[in-house]
């Protein structure tokens, strides 16, 4: 079963996104920062989509996205950023790292569930 990796330093957001996906029949793996996210991705090949915050301690979400492609060589997992950031240059950095989509917080599950399911394959 395909899973979604939710990466956010905020337990509030992890809980909110995780619960919403679970209630929609989607399995999740939770991570607290970019480094934790990379470790979880390495350990679980059923993760097909990452929903990640940008600003996090230890490793930020964009660096994680870049490392997913460059260090892990994983070009198949889809990545969506869920963040308070809406800066165009930051979005461009995301695009360059192969990020598929951008959600400006707050998370409104109903508005994105269709696209999330599609990206999950």
């Amino acid at each position: 079963m395909s899973k979604v990796l939710v990466v956010d330093d905020s337990a509030t957001v992890r809980n909110e996104v995780g619960s919403f996906l679970k209630n929609n029949g989607i399995a999740t793996v939770l991570a607290e920062n970019g480094k934790d996210g990379l470790d979880k991705l390495k350990a679980d090949s059923s993760i097909k989509l990452i929903i990640s915050d940008v600003n996090m301690p230890i490793m930020d979400g964009l660096t994680m996205a870049e490392k997913v492609r460059s260090e892990l060589g994983n070009n198949t997992v889809n990545i969506i950023m869920l963040t308070t950031e809406s800066d165009a240059r930051m979005k461009q950095r995301g695009k360059d790292a192969g990020v598929k989509g951008w959600i400006v917080k707050p998370f409104k599950g109903d508005a994105v569930i269709g696209a999330v399911k599609k990206l999950l394959g």
């Binding site: 905020s10 337990a11 509030t12 957001v13 809980n15 909110e16 619960s19 600003n55 969506i80 963040t83 308070t84 950031e85 809406s86 800066d87 165009a88 240059r89 979005k91 995301g94 695009k95 990020v99 598929k100 989509g101 951008w102 959600i103 400006v104 917080k105 707050p106 998370f107 409104k108 508005a111 994105v112 696209a115 999330v116």
Partner: protein, 326 residues
């Protein structure tokens, strides 16, 4: 009641002369001041409870206990040394006849016959910094919206934005995040009470489970997320990318001093800070209404003439919460 984004300042007046109090009240009404008074024996409480004071108006006139504003100034100075005090003199608006110690307590003097020194005092000490209305209004709106999204079924009431001169830490828990762009550099603080936030989480009105596992951790998480979303929105709206590209004086820093014993935080600047107060109330009374105090402190850089409001907010077809696919 919701108020407009007109900036006011709260001043405490202690004057035994009823005529003077009446004149001061009119002066306050005409000069964007919210004046209030209290009996001498309750004055300590005034300084404990009022975290949004801008100045104190005192008088030479003796009260029924034989105390004057000079006596009171000594006491206030011990607990709130940063608060500007102004003394109403009986004969002339000078420091003549006051001891050197007494003179050092006051930032200004005035008489009832001539209030112009009082007006100058306000201009020099409280309204000496211009905060653009769109910024003030925007911060209020962003915060109100974020609180409303973070605490379901809530009514958020905001008070008039206040200019404050003191550095009290309000409540029991606060979050702090830098605000940095080419035109400003400082911090945003959000302060509240631990138990109130716990009660909101327990009520099930937030994204966190209502069964609290680790009380302080959950309180921290909720306050952090609220702060984070407010910060992101302020950044998107007011720190536009062309300015963001060049964060002014990025290497400049000053130490922040926290005095735990006196519940005091200093950012190393004496300019008036912007202070907003929000009350969060449940539509179904599942938790006790609580207050959040938000302070904006631009202590390192302040060039509001360079401020640009992002057009992106108005023109962007992708709304918050929706997925923008690349």
């Amino acid at each position: 009641m919701e108020s407009e984004a007109e900036i006011v300042s709260k001043v405490f007046a202690y004057d035994a002369d009823p005529t003077a109090l009446s004149v001061i009240k009119n002066f306050c009404d005409e000069n964007n001041l919210v004046g209030f008074r209290e009996h001498y024996n309750k004055i300590n409480k005034v300084f404990d409870c009022n975290i949004d004071l801008g100045a104190v108006f005192l008088s030479e006139t003796l009260d029924d206990d034989g105390k004057s504003g000079i006596d009171l100034a000594v006491e206030i100075h011990k607990v709130r040394p940063e608060l500007p005090l102004v003394l109403r003199r009986l004969t002339s608006a000078t420091f003549d006849g006051l001891s050197e110690d007494a003179q050092s307590l006051f930032a200004g003097v005035y008489t009832l016959e001539d209030l112009s020194p009082l007006k100058s005092f306000l201009q020099d000490h409280l309204f000496n910094r211009y905060y653009p209305t769109p910024l003030v209004h925007g911060i209020q709106e962003i915060t109100q919206q974020t609180l409303s999204e973070s605490v379901r079924d809530s009514i958020i009431t905001k008070s008039s934005p206040c200019l404050v001169k003191h550095h009290i830490i309000y409540g029991e828990v606060f979050s702090m995040i830098p605000l940095e762009s080419s035109w400003c550099k400082g911090y945003m603080m959000i302060q509240t009470t631990d138990e109130d936030i716990s009660n909101v989480i327990r009520s099930g009105n937030t994204s966190l489970p209502s069964k609290i596992n680790n009380e302080s951790l959950d309180v921290n998480q909720l306050l952090n997320e609220i702060t984070n979303v407010i910060w992101g929105r302020i950044k998107s709206q007011f720190f536009t990318e062309e300015h963001n590209a060049d964060v002014g004086g990025s290497s400049i820093q000053v130490p922040i001093l926290v005095n735990h014993a006196k519940k005091f935080i200093s950012f190393g600047a004496t300019e008036p800070q912007l202070c907003f107060t929000y009350t969060v109330e449940d539509t179904q009374n599942r938790y006790k209404p609580f207050t959040l105090n938000q302070k904006i402190i631009f202590n390192l850089s302040w060039m509001p003439e360079n401020m640009n409001i992002s057009e992106q907010i108005l023109s962007d077809s992708v709304e918050s919460g929706e997925l923008e696919l690349f």
